[in-house]
Amino acid sequence: MTMNKVWDKLRKHNQANYRQFKFCISFSVLLISSYLMMLFSPLVQNTLPVGGDSRKQIYMIFGIAAVGCIIFVLYTTGLFYRYKSRELGVFLALGSDKGKLTKATLVESAKLVMGCMAAGIVGGCVTALIIGKIFEMIASEANDNKFALSFEGLSGSLIYGIVIFLLVLISLTRSLGRSNVLEIMNQQRKQEPIKNMVTVRYLALGIAMLIIGVFLAAILPGIVLRATHHHMGIWTNLFYLLALVGLYRIMVYSIASHRRGRNPQKYYKNVISYGMLKFQGRSIVRNMLVITLLVMGGLFAFYYAPMSYSGDKSDFYEAGYHYFYSEDTDEVTETEVREMAGKYGVEIENYREGEFIQIVGDGMIRENFDAKGNLIEEYAERYAAYQCISVSEYEILTGEKVAVEDGTYIMIVSSGSHENLYNQFGTMEKLYMYNSGENVSMEYTGNVIYESLVFRWAFDEDMRCIISDRDYALLKEGLPQEQILRQVLFDTDNNEASLAFSNELYREFVLRMSDNMKVPGAYNSVRHEVEGDDYGYNYPAVYDADNPARETDWRYAPNFIYLSASNGFLQRAVFFLMFLYVAVICLAAVGIVSYTRSQSVGLGSKQVFDDLKKLGANNRYVSRLLKTQVKKVYVLPTAIGCVGMFAFETLLLHQNDGGLDAYEFRALGISFLLTVAVVFYQYLIYRISMRRVTNILGLSA
């Protein structure tokens, strides 16, 4: 019998602990590795816009998941060491050389973690490859990018694995460094009590830190930006750390502070449970915090779909088909539209056409910040070619009467149009007559909502306005054909063939447009004229006549709701799937962390439960205690995670433009349902955990 054989035998005896340790480390590396592989694949990298919000959000959630997994790994390591410590203590007590013992333990652990790392990374690659290829297939109609494992993804996974490896070894070295044999032997039974009795002041400070942290990180920058036009910078995100500390204090309080107080009877009813929780101390709080963060990360990712659809107005459009083209184009006429529809058995309803003119006017450029973070507001004499319609023409198109005085204008906006720092109503103050170049002073008098006539964002160079018939006639004088736009609105009888009809109409529209219509969405002809070759949007429009599903970058893109409904998902499939994947990863981690913790809570309490049984507690009583212990792992973190994230999302939507519109309310409704689904998921994991631990403790009878 050699020491190695003894180690082997002990390892076999403690197989369950080894299995749990290996599973948790491998799983953490697998999650992060697959995340990185997906994130750095060409499919995702080439799809997510550089510097865009979606990219930032994905990185942010990655940060949460990575930190959560690291805390979880450290917890698992601590748990593993607790099992090992008794063996080590016995060896030490029997005269084993501490240096040799430490070395042997570290070498064994290093081998284990390296194996887990390799398994995790390989598992991560395989998972990402399978999921990535599925993404690619789903999105292929609208996205040419391919999924592939990348060097960046692999390096990131390796770095993460090495970080985990080092952290585990450092943590073990610290634990093994203890000189006292008894301390090492008793490690298995050692609890991590929260030493100082936490007070109401401790809680109040925690709540204050949470509120102040969120306020300083999420609300204050918006207020400062609106009030002073000063961008405070990304450093304000550091205040989220303050919120995190506040959250930690709230959780510590929930575990540690139970007093006899005004309801002693209730206190005594739960006193055993309180005592048990208090003695699990910091480790349960750390776990609760990780679960909270991961629930928040998962929900944030889940919310992406409804939030991005908050801009989808298809339910609110007054006309199912709306598009415009310049008059110099030989575009599809009403007769041709009706003939084409007839071919598919589709009936055109409520067809109407109207005329807009594109007139150059002044405006304010608000795009960049100076070195100090202040918004640069630059007045431009010639800012954009605004799309104007006369009062009479507007009435023909919409059937709505509006009153517009000469020299004034009304903006056509959507119900979701709100002013913010960049977008403000009525910034245009004059329009230029085409022939003479003289200007006509224009005064902004208000807005009218007509979703199907809103052009892109409705502000600045995208502004459409209604002017008086006299001003319209004056400004139209001498205007070339390409500056006169024909707006078409109609509906169909909601026939099944409407989709096929829409596809053909889309194709025809693309094939027949003039060259001046082949410009990208953000193209501003006036800025192009002023800035010359430096102008950034001077590139060809992106569209595909044969594939309306392909995401476009095209100023004249027609809007057919049958196509949007059918292709909307495909166009953003990679975004949705990536966020869905992230959400699933976070929730899988939540499930594993909650399950593992509840098992160790249950099993760690076995001795106490046995003692209580000897003191006369029956199975029902002990089961109730167990339930309280396990519930603590789930209820508060899930509640804080869900309520916190939902509130945060509402706040973000509100911060966008200082209000919530109908689309945003709809998005919040869907988000709420997703939140309920996450709560249900947690409940399910709780039930599974309870059943398992009840069986192990023999309390099921």
Binding site: P264, Y268, V271, I272, L277, D611, L612, K613, L615, G616
Partner: protein
């Protein structure tokens, strides 16, 4: 109070059967303080575990105030343990997260009794055993003797018919042991408590009214004290010496 009649208990290991208790019979009267002694393997802890209903037995009967414990289901056994028995263990079994006062209250907490009476009773017992001043401390902050006196107070919370003590002084120094035995005697004097104690400690046992000495699963001898603690200790040591064939053993 306690009647043990013709009790048999054995363990099966592979094909071998080990008889641990063989035809054990004795009685414990109300208000009596009885100790069980004997060398390791004599069956004294098994006997205590049978009486506590922690383990079953093959033959015989155990009656606690004429109640046959072997026919009770899990729920009723728990009720008996909570209300009719009080336990004191060698390793105290206090809950680390609770204060001393709260630990003493546990039997009544399990019973969900009103808190006022519970606290009054706990404080009275703690006062009796000299641990009232540590009421707000946690088990980690007090000595072994104080822990065991806390356990004795806890055992008495529901006025049990019988206190079962398993090596209550086994983890204590002589001074603490005396204090714990003092607590049992105080309980006997003031509350007419009946105590059945398994011990290796002759000195502690010498304070009892009666000592049952066991050997190889049977009762070897029963010794009655005449009230003279010194003389009873001498008598006890002599019996234990004879039991070991004239050798002193670890029972001292």
């Amino acid at each position: 109070m306690l009647n043990v009649n013709h009790l048999y208990k054995s363990y099966q290991t592979g094909n071998t059967t080990y008889e641990v208790l063989k035809d054990v019979c004795f009685k414990v009267e109300e208000g009596e303080f009885v100790a069980v002694m004997g060398p390791s393997g004599s069956g004294k802890t098994t006997l205590l575990n049978c009486i506590s209903c922690f383990i079953g037995y093959e033959k015989g009967e155990i009656l606690l105030k004429d109640m046959d414990l072997s026919i009770l289901n899990e729920k009723n056994i728990a009720k008996v343990r909570n209300e009719d028995m009080g336990f004191v263990f060698q390793d105290f079994m206090l809950l680390d997260g609770l204060t001393i006062l709260e630990n003493v209250c546990i039997p009544k907490v399990i019973k969900a009794e009103p808190y006022r009476l519970m606290e009054e009773k706990a404080k009275a017992l703690m006062n009796m055993f000299g641990i009232l001043e540590i009421a707000d401390k946690y088990p980690g902050e007090i000595s072994g003797g104080q822990k065991q006196r806390t356990a004795v107070a806890r055992a008495l919370m529901n006025d049990p018919l019988l206190i079962l003590a398993d090596e209550p002084t086994g983890n204590l120094d002589s001074r603490s042991s005396e204090a714990v035995i003092g607590a049992f005697l105080e309980a006997q004097r003031e509350l007419n408590a009946t105590t059945f104690m398994v011990t290796h400690d002759s000195f502690s046992a010498s304070y009892c009214d009666r000592v049952i000495v066991m050997k190889d699963g049977r009762i070897f001898k029963e010794l009655m004290s005449n009230g003279n603690h010194r003389a009873f200790l001498e008598q006890l040591l002599n019996v234990l010496r004879n039991l070991n064939g004239g050798e002193d053993d670890d029972n001292e």
